[in-house]
């Protein structure tokens, strides 16, 4: 791990903007570690000049994310890394069904309409279906290669097919919605392009929801529609969130996780030979890589005393999940990938009432996909030069755009 020397010690950090430049492929920007060591709650200057706060400590992150005084309402939200030309202050109410931008009780109603579809028991029942998807993706990749782009042939198709089958979205439309969801999460996409992508996806899901209300299928959208708890618009909005987040995130973890395992041969060997339980390995990869890379925005609705400071009502707060998951107060030697450690309790899926509703599905996909990949292709290796591995520094979810491999 290549971490530059710390800056000179001082009592208080000058408020700076959120560090975003990585120096290692798997490590968060090193400045986050210095900030956390000095002030796990530190002043943060937002791009519009607003003075808010950055949370980098694990325990403080849990405190903020589970305290209902810290609102997730997009009408109050300010993001630390805005799109080019966009106002970092969102200042608009949540779109219908877009539950990440809502507080209880509005949030609770939509969350409960969805959460029954993602229970531990329901997701466990998807195991054989996901295993088949993984096996078919490996069949197709090995039939066409080597070489192959692991992202295009495996990391993206597996979660994409899984979420399509679960939701009841036709997989043949994947190229179209993947293009729009890439725009939605791309930091360099203009606000106009992102709005257009959102409108297209929402329209697509709304048509699909209306169709499911008439012709019910064995899928999530049909089930939720049949309960009549959500309007067409709300279910379409929630559907966009599940569809886009449901494949971009796992694709990021599969691509980046495979790269991490290829770069840590002893760890990979321990996983392949069954010396570490795959469930533990997946939790550690989730912690170590924490792909939701720029942090969760929150806004206190009243003054909140915290860590010897007072966060004023309306002052924007960014909770850095990658920094919290590398906190040495919670995880000894946090910058080491150690598949055998007990990483459970990490914040890769967030914390509080907004913690990822699809987390058990994500876990299941990862638990099946990594071992199947290395069992099928024991000689898997990176092909091409270092520049051919393209990492997604430019996305809200960190991951790999392209990973050329051979076997």
């Amino acid at each position: 791990v290549n971490v530059p020397a710390r800056p000179p010690a001082g009592r208080t950090l000058q408020p700076g903007s959120l560090p975003t430049a990585r120096t290692g492929r798997f490590d968060p920007p090193p400045e986050l570690a210095w900030i956390r060591a000095r002030e796990p709650l530190s002043p943060l200057r937002y791009p519009d000049g607003h003075l808010g706060w950055l949370v980098t400590g694990y325990h403080l992150a849990r405190t903020v994310l589970s305290d209902p005084r810290f609102s997730a309402d997009s009408a109050l939200k300010r993001v630390p890394v805005p799109r080019p030309g966009a106002d970092p202050f969102m200042g608009a109410p949540a779109l219908p069904g877009w539950l990440v931008d809502m507080d209880p009780p509005a949030h609770t109603r939509i969350r409960r309409a969805l959460a029954g579809q993602f229970t531990v028991r329901r997701v466990a029942a998807l195991r054989s279906g996901i295993a088949r998807i993984v096996a078919e993706a490996l069949d197709a990749m090995t039939a066409a290669g080597p070489p192959a782009d692991l992202v295009a042939e495996f990391a993206l198709p597996v979660p994409s097919m899984a979420i399509c089958e679960l939701l009841g979205v036709p997989y043949r439309d994947r190229d179209e919605f993947h293009r729009h969801s890439t725009t939605l999460f791309a930091l360099d996409a203009s606000a106009a392009d992102a709005d257009a992508a959102m409108a297209t996806l929402t329209g697509y899901l709304r048509d699909l929801v209306r169709h499911k209300r008439v012709r019910r299928g064995p899928d999530l959208l049909s089930d939720v529609a049949a309960r009549d708890a959500l309007t067409d618009g709300e279910l379409a909005g929630a559907g966009v969130l599940l569809l886009t987040a449901g494949h971009e995130t796992v694709a990021g973890m599969l691509g980046l996780g495979t790269l991490a395992l290829l770069c840590h041969p002893a760890q990979r060997e321990a996983l392949v030979r069954g010396r570490v339980p795959v469930d533990d390995a997946v939790e550690e990869l989730l912690r170590y890589l924490t792909i939701f890379q720029f942090g969760v925005p929150r806004t206190p609705v009243e003054d909140v005393p915290l860590a010897g400071r007072v966060i004023r009502a309306g002052q924007s707060v960014t909770v850095s999940l990658p920094a919290a998951n590398r906190d040495p107060d919670r995880y000894p030697r946090p910058d080491t990938l150690a598949l055998s450690r007990v990483a459970r309790g990490h914040l890769a899926f967030g914390y509080g009432v907004h913690q990822c509703v699809g987390q058990h599905l994500a876990r299941l996909e990862l638990r099946l996909a990594y071992p199947a990949l290395f069992a099928r292709l024991p000689g898997l290796r990176i092909a091409g030069g270092p520049d051919d591995v393209r990492l997604s520094h430019d996305m809200g979810f960190y991951g790999v755009h392209q990973l050329p491999v051979a076997w």
Partner: protein, 73 residues
């Protein structure tokens, strides 16, 4: 002092994240319609105490309360 661990859940704040059903399935289950926690065993076996404590610590909406700590294990 009660020797047995006793656990309570607050279904009103639960968001159905399912951490409890994942780590302590003998004690917690989830409703199939809304994912909300169902308490199977308010007085769990001593063998389940560590898992119940972990579930309470992991719960993202803090819906699990251990009302008697359970001194036997």
């Amino acid at each position: 002092v009660d020797d047995e661990l006793r656990v309570e859940v607050d279904a009103d704040v639960c968001v159905g994240a399912g951490q409890c059903a994942l780590v302590a399935p003998d004690v917690f289950d989830q409703d199939d319609t809304d994912g909300v926690v169902r308490l199977l065993a308010p007085h769990p076996d001593a063998a389940s105490y560590p898992a119940v404590r972990e579930a309470a610590a992991l719960c993202p909406s803090r819906a699990i309360r251990i009302v008697a700590p359970g001194r036997r294990a």
